[in-house]
Symmetry: C2
Subunit: 319 residues, 2 copies
């Protein structure tokens, strides 16, 4: 039986809930999660209530007390504030929140569990994706150049985590996930948005699906592969190193829509929505995943069954 | 007569005061400076009182009101919090302060003077200087990898400024100065520290000079050349681009000490102080300055007269 004590910050969110499932399937029992509010949603069906800790990581005292008490040796650090809106107040809030929660966690670990390994989840959005070419393959040496406040805040978290490795010798490994998809992902992400709209059409609640740039190609990974990579990095990642996590294959949004249409139980009318087109979109963004694959990661090649699974999941939901 | 309205944030500090001198010598009259407290020190001898604005840039309202009223077309953004101490509270404070003041200025300009050009002063410390080789020549494509909280906070400011160029099309040029030295630089910087100690020896106030790693080589630039580069970048820099500012030559700390000893009016006994040795020091850090030199910058080749000038200045000071 594993003697690992595992803490997952943001463990009741989309990726977090899949990570809990994977860790349970691996035989882990000491899995603790933090969530900012609520009772844990789906994860409350997986873990006992005393392993679900409601707290705001921004609060250093409560964060430090939890780390001190649990003495985790593995921390999957997934917690992030959803990026809502683009007003100055929202910009300021997401930057402050992500800076503060990162500082709070790093400092709590430094003071009370300095041997714990932290897997810090960043984002592919930290990279510079200014369109220099229509197709962009990004490896870990690609320069940083975040655009949105959310992306800037994730880059800030990376820089801060790396500085704690150098200054305080904390054992942090950095992951930069590209797009990942699966059941329980919220609206606002393209595959969930499409699937939810198709279910509404099937239920007669709407007649058409509104879409943005269908030519855009993104590197979509099944969330189950993604959290598998998290687990791999926790065990085999090198301290202070960054690992891109993505399938290494681009899929056009058009393809995903086609698969969903083919599985739909009602005719689907597609309507372009100019509001959903973003001027900065570049055609294709792909992860160079050589570094994580060299550690033994093998993501599923075919994303079509994942897309169909997502549609099936939305059919079980009230929307 | 120039019709430029110039605002220098942090304009009463070390580099700021030299920049005011250079701009006055260039015939500029509409030079405004901000300072966080005090009456402007040396700069109060150069500018009328109504061009010295005491305010905390972190306060968005007062910052926005100043930008709205002055309508500057050139903003030299030098303001920075001195990095004092390394406790967690200091770490948190410098990160928060530098994030907040950057956001506040960028947002004030976006809202009230969106055509203004901003020269954002970063730091060579934003770069990764993890010792991979004893000699490190850094160009603008070198990866970021700040170590100290101060350095992380400067990298945060760069990322944020660049995101405002991409998202809001602000006209920001980014400077990354390497070490620069001159009169009016505070203690805590090696040349000032040495010169001040030698003046104390000359005055019979101490008998020896305590030193750290004399073999370390750094790229020292005369502050007058440095602020000349600021002025050049304001006029010729390309929006969104980063420019390294450094002489492109390394000088050993030993050399600087030798020049000062040779100019000293009393015998100087040198004593190594283990507390001043930093384990992460690498031998030599040099700016690749091709990019700014291509715009016409030519820093003075010989730094020895600068060092002698600094000693002469300390002799005029009460210490």
């Amino acid at each position: 039986m594993s003697r690992d004590v595992i803490l997952i910050t943001g463990g009741t969110g989309f990726a977090g809930s899949h990570l809990v499932e994977v860790l349970l399937a691996s035989g882990e029992t000491q899995i603790h999660v933090t969530c900012q509010s609520g009772r844990g949603g789906f994860v409350s069906q997986l873990l006992p209530a005393d392993q679900i800790h409601e707290l705001d990581l921004i609060n250093f005292e409560t964060t430090a007390n939890l780390i001190k008490r649990l003495q985790p040796n593995q921390i999957y650090h997934l917690a992030a504030t959803a990026a809502v809106g683009s007003s100055f107040n929202q910009t300021r809030k997401i930057l402050e929140n992500h800076l503060e929660l990162q500082l709070s966690l790093l400092e709590a670990v430094r003071q009370f569990a300095p041997k714990s390994r932290i897997l810090a989840i960043g984002s592919a959005l930290e990279y510079d994706t200014t369109p220099t070419s229509p197709h962009l393959v990004i490896d870990e040496t690609h320069p940083l150049g975040p655009v949105s406040p959310y992306a800037v805040s994730k880059a800030i978290q990376s820089l801060l985590a790396t500085s704690y490795v150098k200054t305080h010798r904390l054992d942090v490994v950095l992951a930069r996930p590209f797009n990942h998809i699966g059941e329980r992902q919220g609206l606002g992400f393209v595959v969930s948005d499409f699937a939810a709209q198709i279910v509404k059409i099937e239920r007669g609640l709407q007649t058409e699906i509104r879409v943005g740039n269908l030519l855009a190609e993104r590197d979509f990974t099944d969330v189950k592969d993604m959290v598998g990579a998290y687990q791999l990095l926790m065990h085999r990642g090198i301290t202070g190193e960054v690992y891109n996590l993505g399938s290494g294959r681009a899929h056009s949004v058009q393809n995903i829509l086609n698969w969903l249409k083919a599985s739909a139980l009602a005719p689907v009318v597609v309507v372009p929505d100019p509001l959903k087109f973003r001027p900065l979109d570049i055609n294709s963004i792909i992860a160079d995943n050589d570094k994580v694959c060299a550690l033994g990661w093998q993501p599923t090649e075919d994303i079509k069954p994942t897309v169909e699974r997502i549609l099936a999941w939305w059919r079980t939901q009230k929307i």
